[in-house]
Every structure is written in structure tokens, then in C-alpha cells.
């Protein structure tokens, strides 16, 4: 599957702000897509598209905070940088509590926004890389037989082959064979690596 390139999405109802942001981001070599309303953005947005979002708080119709809520409902992880000319502390706190990456008050310096956009893009890249990694681990886990999975769970608890054999009621040799299959299927070079993999996919 071809990987999508990162895009900075800008949603603002003010034509002048939208255009100046588009020019600013373009001047920094960033791919940009703009929308004049939350509805326009949401009708086209694919959560698999990497990037970040620069979002106005106050817009007619659906506000920026309402749009953030809708993105959360959809499971979108795109970092959101709110911009507003009329921000207050309760509004900023609400946005941050709901996962905003940043909250910037107008007027702001061009460089200030560009720095935050770059940080947001880096965060998105790192997050998506972690997600791909955990997806790969889950795929490998799914390829294990039920017995191999049992062996995996016990060895990653720190149990020796002999103890695992006793727990499962099989010979130590059988455990060794299952364990070798587990290491191969999980593409793990060591027990420590296997433990790290299990920790990466463990529920928080």
C-alpha cells in the first residue's frame, strides 16, 4: 500500500486567515489542504491520512471544539493545534483535556506556528510508526497456535522451561520446541525482545 504523505490541514472560516496560513505553510515546504468549515473538512477527511490539523476554535455551525469531539469519536489521532483570537483558560483546558496538541492565541508569530506544526508532524510520525509496530506484533501473535501462545505467556512471565512444562503437563522437550517456534514466528532474537513486544501490545 502506498504511504500517504503528511499534510497540514487548516480549518478556518476566515478567508484571509486560511489563505495566509496556506501561503505560510507552503513557504515552509509543507503540503497543505484547507477547509472553510468543520463540515467541509469532516466530509473529506480520512483518519489514515498522516499530518496535523490547524483548527480555528470559533466557527459558525460546528465549532472547533465540537469538531475535535467528532474526530475523537471517529478515533482520529491527528494532532490538533487550536488557534483563536478569543481564547480563555477554561476553553484551552477543555481543548487540552480532550487531547489537543496545542492551543495558540492570535496574533502569533509565523515561526511560532511553524515550530508547533513541525512538532505536531513529528508526533504524528512517531505515533503512526508505533501503531504499525504494534499491528505487526499482533499479526505475529495471531499466527501462533493456542499451545504456542500458552508457552509465550508463561515464558514472558519469567518461567523456566521446566516450570512451563510442569504448568502445561507436557515434557520439557515439547516446551523447547514450542518455544523455538514462538521465537521464529514472533521474529524475536531474545527473550528480552519477546517481553518488550508483549509490553508494547499490553493494554494500558
Amino acid at each position: 500500500m502506498k504511504e500517504l504523505s503528511q499534510t497540514v490541514f487548516v480549518v478556518d472560516d476566515d478567508d484571509a486567515v486560511r489563505n495566509s496560513l496556506r501561503l505560510l505553510l507552503k513557504s515552509a515546504g509543507l503540503s497543505t489542504e484547507i477547509a472553510a468549515s468543520a463540515q467541509e473538512f469532516l466530509s473529506n477527511y480520512d483518519t489514515a491520512h498522516p499530518g496535523c490539523l490547524v483548527l480555528d476554535v470559533r466557527m459558525p455551525g460546528m465549532s472547533g471544539l465540537e469538531m475535535q469531539h467528532e474526530l475523537n469519536v471517529r478515533g482520529a489521532t491527528i494532532p490538533v493545534i487550536f488557534i483563536t483570537g478569543h481564547g480563555d483558560i477554561p476553553m484551552a483546558v477543555e481543548a487540552m483535556q480532550h487531547g489537543a496538541f496545542d492551543f495558540l492565541q492570535k496574533p502569533f508569530r509565523d515561526q511560532e506556528l511553524l515550530d508547533r506544526v513541525q512538532r505536531a508532524l513529528t508526533r504524528d510520525t512517531e505515533y503512526r510508526a508505533r501503531l504499525r509496530q504494534t499491528d505487526r506484533i499482533r499479526e505475529r501473535l495471531a499466527s501462533l497456535s493456542p499451545r504456542e501462545r500458552e508457552v509465550l505467556d508463561l515464558v514472558t512471565q519469567g518461567k523456566a522451561n521446566k516450570i512451563v512444562a510442569g504448568d502445561l503437563g507436557v515434557s520439557q522437550r515439547t516446551v523447547e520446541i514450542h518455544r523455538a517456534h514462538v521465537m521464529q514466528k514472533m521474529e524475536a532474537g531474545s527473550l528480552a525482545e519477546l517481553v518488550r513486544m508483549m509490553m508494547a501490545v499490553a493494554p494500558q
Partner: protein, 136 residues
Amino acid sequence: MVALDHKGSEGGEHGETERVRTIIVAGQSSQRTRAVLRALRGFTNVIWPISLEAALAQSGSEDAGCLVIADDLREERIDDFLQEARELRRNLPIFVITDPDDVAEAVSAMRHGATAVIEIPPSYAVLCEEVARAMQ
């Protein structure tokens, strides 16, 4: 350092079997701290006055219910403090009291792990609601 009961006097008896968690107020005798203590006068087991360092040590205790940072601190110091507190107790509710309209400070505190940021003078209702929720 003293614990106040709901009338504001020192001490405070608690049931032997029920653990009462503490509200740690980091702040000296500043106007902010006094405003926070007024807002929290209905709560028992408020610990104050306390320095940031002492607050950090108290935050590690199992009895710590929440932490209210009332002192007027420079941004870098509070951000470092929040990070340290988060490393110590990941789920401890931490409330930061800030100047009115200082959105940048509020955002920075939230990014560094504050549960919520409340403007001074802290509204009795808002602070009580946040702290009560944290103590549940």
C-alpha cells in the same frame, strides 16, 4: 505543615478504618495560596503550607488524593515540577492555579501533565468540584 478540618482549625479526627486522602496545597503565604485555602475551606485534610519540594515528596504517598499548585511560579520551574510529579505518581490529579487570562501558561501546564488549570481567584465552586472529583 498542618492539616485543617472543615472549620479551618488544626488537627481533625478521622475514622480508624477509613483512609482519608490528603489535598496537598503547594504554596507559601502568597495571596494565591490564601485564595486557594479559602476555596478549599470545606474540605478536611488539607495539607499546607508546603514548598514544591515537600509537595513532591508528599505526592508519592499513597494517602495523597490530589495536589493543588497555588504558588506563582515561573513557567520553566512549574513545567519541570509537573513532569517530576507525573513520573512519581502517574495518576495523581494535579491542579494548577494561574493568573486570569494567561492562556499560554495554562496550555503549557496542561502539556506537562496538569489535570486542570484554574484561574485566580479560584472559584469556590470550580475548585471544589475539581477536587471533589479527584478525591472520589
